[in-house]
Symmetry: C2
Subunit: 359 residues, 2 copies
Amino acid sequence: MNDAPVPVLPADHPLADGRTTGSALLRALRGERTGPRAVWFMRQAGRSLPEYRAAREGVGMLESCLRPDLAAEITLQPVRRHHVDAAIFFSDIVVPLRLAGVDVDIVPGRGPVLGSPVRTASDVAALPSLEDVDFTAIREAVALTVSELGGTPLIGFAGAPFTLAAYLVEGGPSRDHLGPRTLMHADPETWQALTTWAADLSGAFLRAQLEAGASACQLFDSWAGSLSAADYEAHAAPASARAFAHVADLPVPRIHFGTGTGELLPAMHAAGATAVGVDYRLPLDEASRRLGGVVPLQGNIDPALLAAPWNVLEPHVRDVLRRGDAAPGHVVNLGHGVPPSTEPDVLTRVVDLVHEVPQ
Amino acid sequence: MNDAPVPVLPADHPLADGRTTGSALLRALRGERTGPRAVWFMRQAGRSLPEYRAAREGVGMLESCLRPDLAAEITLQPVRRHHVDAAIFFSDIVVPLRLAGVDVDIVPGRGPVLGSPVRTASDVAALPSLEDVDFTAIREAVALTVSELGGTPLIGFAGAPFTLAAYLVEGGPSRDHLGPRTLMHADPETWQALTTWAADLSGAFLRAQLEAGASACQLFDSWAGSLSAADYEAHAAPASARAFAHVADLPVPRIHFGTGTGELLPAMHAAGATAVGVDYRLPLDEASRRLGGVVPLQGNIDPALLAAPWNVLEPHVRDVLRRGDAAPGHVVNLGHGVPPSTEPDVLTRVVDLVHEVPQ
């Protein structure tokens, strides 16, 4: 798949006509500091919104990701409600696994569960070919979303190969990710084959979204923080780099995010990201220092403070903005996803505050 | 409780007669580098051992912690089997909660579950008084264990106040610890009252074990890694310091351990620890550098590698020993608990290797 010819962007593609390149999001991701700051929230499309719960009623998670009308509607909901500066494509990191033919489902209250884990060289060899993965539903959902978004940019989304591989090896969510962390040392060849496969799948998933009209992309490495810096560099970053390489010819920003990654930020940047997402644990000025002061950052309001009174949350948001000024560009976001229990009005108020404070 | 007079050690107490002060563990924790290295494993007493599963058959977790004969037997099992240089008292961080009268149980497959969470000022005010907590079962178990251990030292154990408070606020295990992290900012006074109570309980639990014959103690802060350094210093470290202060008059080493704590090590040391446990993510030489090169360390074999072939595990253990030489003293341990699926013979082999390599 990596050898496939690079498709030419159609003339009416947002990346070709530059329609959204003037947006606050893209300005910030390119390191410009003009106009109000851009703000969006990881998991803004989701369980915190009553309109989301209504739209999802009786529809399974994976089904909702694969129905273009529903995925588009859910993606648009937080943009309408909060006036955020970007939509994030409503999907799940295991969606491309399902499209590739892997037996996976998302079990409510538990998360992604695989029909059978992938642990040996022969398990990896038996993974489906990625030649003919059909991303039609994704392309349709993205095109529909972009057409309804007006000028607001859409961010495409994929799980990073390490996190995808961690799910494949464990067969579901786990706390310590012992299986993948053992495999990368015990059988590095199998691990490399597995993460290469996952990288090509994530890369193709990102590319499908970008070709259909997304203006930026983000690779989520949910479990990267379970690795030492040495293990991350040797056994995870190369696959993230391979995923990003699938879209490196497109003129779009590439964001790389994980949690607990304070020690990994330089390697996450070096993997081919043009901007780095920072979790709530590390102040943005310190994150920028670790990145040599030359990388646009995204983050990092503490999601726990969304449930605190406004007189606690407001100074925290202002502190995040102040520290973010240390980076060449700053997209305001949370330092992790929106907690399901979040009061939606709080997010709207944070957006208003961010837009109000001059940069 | 903090104002109670300091009990005088009985003449036959190990701390009084110095019986175990010459042990490899205590030498290492005091920064001495003579003889073979000391090694033990967090969660060495537990599910990886068939004799543990046999001893626990039909007995609930909390019941097994509170039956002196059973707690002693389980504590001794890994010492007999692996010839480790320390026993760790078999218990659970919620045991003192139960002894204090809090409605808590350990549900198999889930973890500690509270009858009702503790979230408000009045919930905290309603926590039981700590004046008359009865640690008799703990003292008996420790005394019995020490009498059967011969010269091998016993390490006393308690959960750090932040982690205890996190369980109390959430009402059970959680992934992001949003409840306690919100509370510490939203209502710092209630948070301080709660963690002070937890500190006095953990401190009393440690003291009971030390008075009954334990030769060192360790505070486990399982969830500390969910905090930024600033939050840890402001809202967790003071309570850990208060817990350690309960035993600071006793001539015993105090170890402080948590996972994901690379950024927190100096604050964990400053809280009154005499040695710091390091998780598997941070190499010991780097950890020692962050601690100014003056703090004995404990750690940090990657538990994931216990399931790898010996030709992968052995060089990793040797690397840990080499990096540990950067610290003034080094107690070899894992960088997290023994995974339940660990093959016991692997642990025995690691002990033999550690004892064989000269320091």
